[in-house]
């Protein structure tokens, strides 16, 4: 038994999260993604069969928080985006006021394209919460 079931989000803002995620999922070789709050709450998710949402969200939120907290401890500027690659694919992570946008790509994924799309998604989220972030016009400018 899971102690507390999650309820699907309904508002316009929730629709915006799902739209952002849907855009990321259109990129070739992207296998899935999720939007997770800093407390680990799953706001939107689409993951391949076989990958459970809650554990993935808990780990991704912990990773995002370590990047935030570590930067703060080291007196660095806050992280904006990160990627971590393994032999079979890459996890992309973007930081936003609402939490973290996570994208999973397979080993053939176009890393530059995902990074650019992620920046675009983060700029959209920034815009919904405050000042829009600067966004390169194309992946090549990154």
């Amino acid at each position: 038994m899971s102690p507390e079931p999650t309820v699907p989000a309904r508002s316009a803002r929730a629709r915006e999260f799902r739209r952002i995620l849907a855009e990321m999922l259109k990129i070739d070789r992207v296998r899935g993604g999720l939007v997770v709050a800093a407390d680990g709450l799953v706001i939107a998710a689409s993951l391949p069969r076989g990958i459970a949402v809650e554990p993935m969200a808990a780990l991704a939120a912990s990773l995002g928080r370590e990047l935030e907290v570590g930067a703060d401890r080291l007196k660095r500027t806050p992280f904006q985006a990160a990627l971590f690659s393994a032999d079979n694919g890459t996890v992309f992570l973007g930081s936003s006021p609402v939490g973290f946008v996570v994208v999973l790509g397979d080993r053939e994924v176009n890393v530059g394209l995902v990074q650019w799309a992620l920046r675009k998604a983060l700029a959209t989220l920034e815009g919904a919460w405050g000042t829009p972030a600067h966004l390169p016009a194309s992946p090549e400018e990154m």
């Binding site: 102690p3 999260f17 939007v35 709050a37 800093a38 991704a60 990047l67 570590g70 971590f84 999973l104």
Partner: protein, 268 residues
């Protein structure tokens, strides 16, 4: 339907609109807002609800979540503790405190919270995932000044010179032992602790996604871009100014990685 009954129903309907909502209603609405990412509105409703019902566990749990969402760790911790005063085995409050302990790199505090949460709710996927992750960590990342000493082959510092523009170069073992750093002692220990923690959590995330072991990482911030390289035993991190070309950063990190492995007598 008689006129009095109709009048009564109309009166009830009007009253339901004008009567202030009770705490349970406020918390239910707040939780929906929270799940939609509307944290500010949710926080306002939770505050209203807690004014009506100051000892309500659900209210304190929501308050804790919202503090975490706003990255307010001290208040979040205190709210989770309030929940545990009402219900000492509340799994979500225990998980929340475990996550905070993880952020504070206090593994000794983190593990018991996860164990307790899973004691009564063994099928609690988030807690299980974190428990499995920390179970694989041989030791906690040591506090500053208590780092285990590197006991490998001697390192020729001149062969591990970072490239032009490269800074905060650090080499650590997977258990957090600092092998080499460009920095002074205190900064090096902090950096090594962070690099190790990122390596550990990123590795667990990649494994959970079925992608394999961590090999490379790039972390971009407003003023710098950091590159990671790792195998199962060694982690390298190197930072450049933010405007570094990613290709250049990867290339230089690879060169330093190859030199480091050679110096330590390791295979790629």
């Amino acid at each position: 339907m008689g006129f009095p009954r109709l009048l009564s129903r109309i009166w009830d309907a009007i009253a339901s609109f004008t009567r202030p909502p009770n705490a349970a209603t406020l918390f239910r609405r707040a939780d929906l807002y929270r799940q939609e990412g509307r944290f500010e509105e949710a926080a306002e409703l939770v505050a209203q609800g807690l004014r009506l019902a100051p000892n309500n566990g659900v209210g304190h749990l929501l308050s804790a979540y919202l503090h975490l969402a706003f990255r307010q760790i001290g208040p979040a911790k205190s709210e989770f503790q309030s929940v545990l005063q009402v219900d000492p085995y509340h799994p979500r409050a225990l998980l929340g405190l475990a996550k905070i302990a993880l952020e504070e790199r206090d593994l000794a505090a983190c593990r018991p919270f996860l164990d307790k949460a899973l004691q009564y709710y063994p099928d609690f996927p988030e807690a299980r995932a974190l428990q499995e992750m920390v179970a694989g960590w041989a030791t906690t990342v040591a506090a500053p000044g208590q780092q285990p000493a590197y006991a490998g082959p001697p390192i020729h510092v001149e062969k591990l010179k970072p490239p032009a523009g490269g800074r905060e170069f650090v080499l650590t073992q997977a258990d957090g032992t600092l092998v080499f750093s460009q920095h002074g002692d205190k900064d090096a220990e902090d950096l090594a602790a962070h690099v190790t923690q990122v390596y550990r959590i990123a590795s667990a995330t990649l494994q959970r996604a079925g992608l394999g072991a961590l090999r490379r990482g790039i972390v971009q911030a407003a003023t710098e871009t950091s590159f990671f390289r790792s195998n199962d035993r060694l982690i390298l991190a190197l930072s450049f100014p933010q405007d570094v070309k990613i290709g250049f950063g990867l290339l230089e990190t690879d060169k330093l990685w190859t030199n480091s492995l050679r110096e330590l007598g390791m295979r790629a």
